[in-house]
Amino acid sequence: MAANQESVLTWLRRSADVLREQRTYLTELDAAIGDADHGINMDRGFTAVMEKLATVGDADSATILKTVGMTLVSTVGGAAGPLYGTAFLRAGAALAGKHDVQPADVVAAFNAAIEGIEARGRAHRGEKTMLDALGPALDALKAALDNGQDFTNALRAAADAAEAGAKATIPMLATKGRASYLGERSIGHQDPGATSSAMLLRAVVGR
């Protein structure tokens, strides 16, 4: 089982910890090219997620992910709420009814999450958004699995790619989100959404 309840909960707990630790950093990134609240918002959202998950009982991974999605929409401000919310809802929907989640199912769920963000945000890669971390991460995950890597190593490759993708947003021009209002002044700053996405993916495999 590639994504049982326990591993999903562990990931979410690590994510909440990292987002709390990094809230100032994320907010600083967002101050440079946004409305200076991304770190505060993500911390608030994942704190609410942890509270909600305390009552989840023995819900399956699909239900947990959908619960995370709904919680994030209600508690994370800015575009991150609807975008991350949609991502988790779509991932949860992709795993619905699956009792023995395999790596291929995780890939499908991750893919559904990305498609959800693209649809909700009307965005694609190259526009200085979270997709610039998540897209390369999914590519790396698939490539590693195709090359016969075990699932843990494949997830590490995804986390590495997400971090590289986040850094790669630095020279990009923002054409989406609040940063797009800055025009060329958005160049030279790392995108906060790509950064928090990379943090979430790193949390899958630890620190």
């Binding site: 409305d35 609240d37 918002n41 929409v73 209600s74 508690t75 401000g77 800015g78 575009a79 709420g81 609807p82 975008l83 919310g85 949609t86 909700r120 945000g121 989406k176 989100g177 609040r178």
Partner: protein, 135 residues
């Protein structure tokens, strides 16, 4: 009964202010509901506020939703997606600039126009000029 109007803004005060302006044109003949700010009143948007506003605005003739910035549109979209199909069919999102669009929509709604006409009129705000020489 008339088309209802919902104003979604990151700012509660901005949404309320736009409602005030629009109500001046509607003379009480249409419901114009503010859905601004996050749940705790800080800057941001709230799915629940938008959902509640839609229910308050809808008298059966449908609702036009106006929004300030992109993320308000995302939250508004998600609210509409969660409506029962029958109601969803009579709720529209407007791409119009929020202030001018609200005022135009209020006029059209107050004379009993159907949702499609209210939406079309509001969209006309996109081309409006404030300055006399049109530039």
């Amino acid at each position: 009964m008339a088309v209802g109007i919902v104003i979604v803004s990151h700012s509660a005060r901005l949404a309320e202010g736009i409602v005030e302006l629009a109500e001046q044109m509607a003379h009480g003949a249409a419901r114009i509901i503010a859905a601004g700010g996050a749940a705790d009143g800080s800057l941001g948007t709230s799915l629940e506020k938008v959902q509640q506003a839609i229910q308050s605005a809808d008298t059966g003739d449908g609702v036009l939703i106006l929004m300030d910035l992109g993320s308000a549109a995302m939250v508004a979209e998600m609210s509409v997606e969660q409506l029962p199909p029958e109601q969803r069919a009579r709720v529209m999102l407007s791409n119009a600039p929020v202030v001018e669009g609200a005022v135009l929509a209020a006029v059209e709604a107050s004379i009993g126009s159907p949702l499609e006409i209210v939406a079309e009129t509001a969209q006309g705000a996109a081309g409006m000029s404030k300055l006399h020489d049109g530039k």
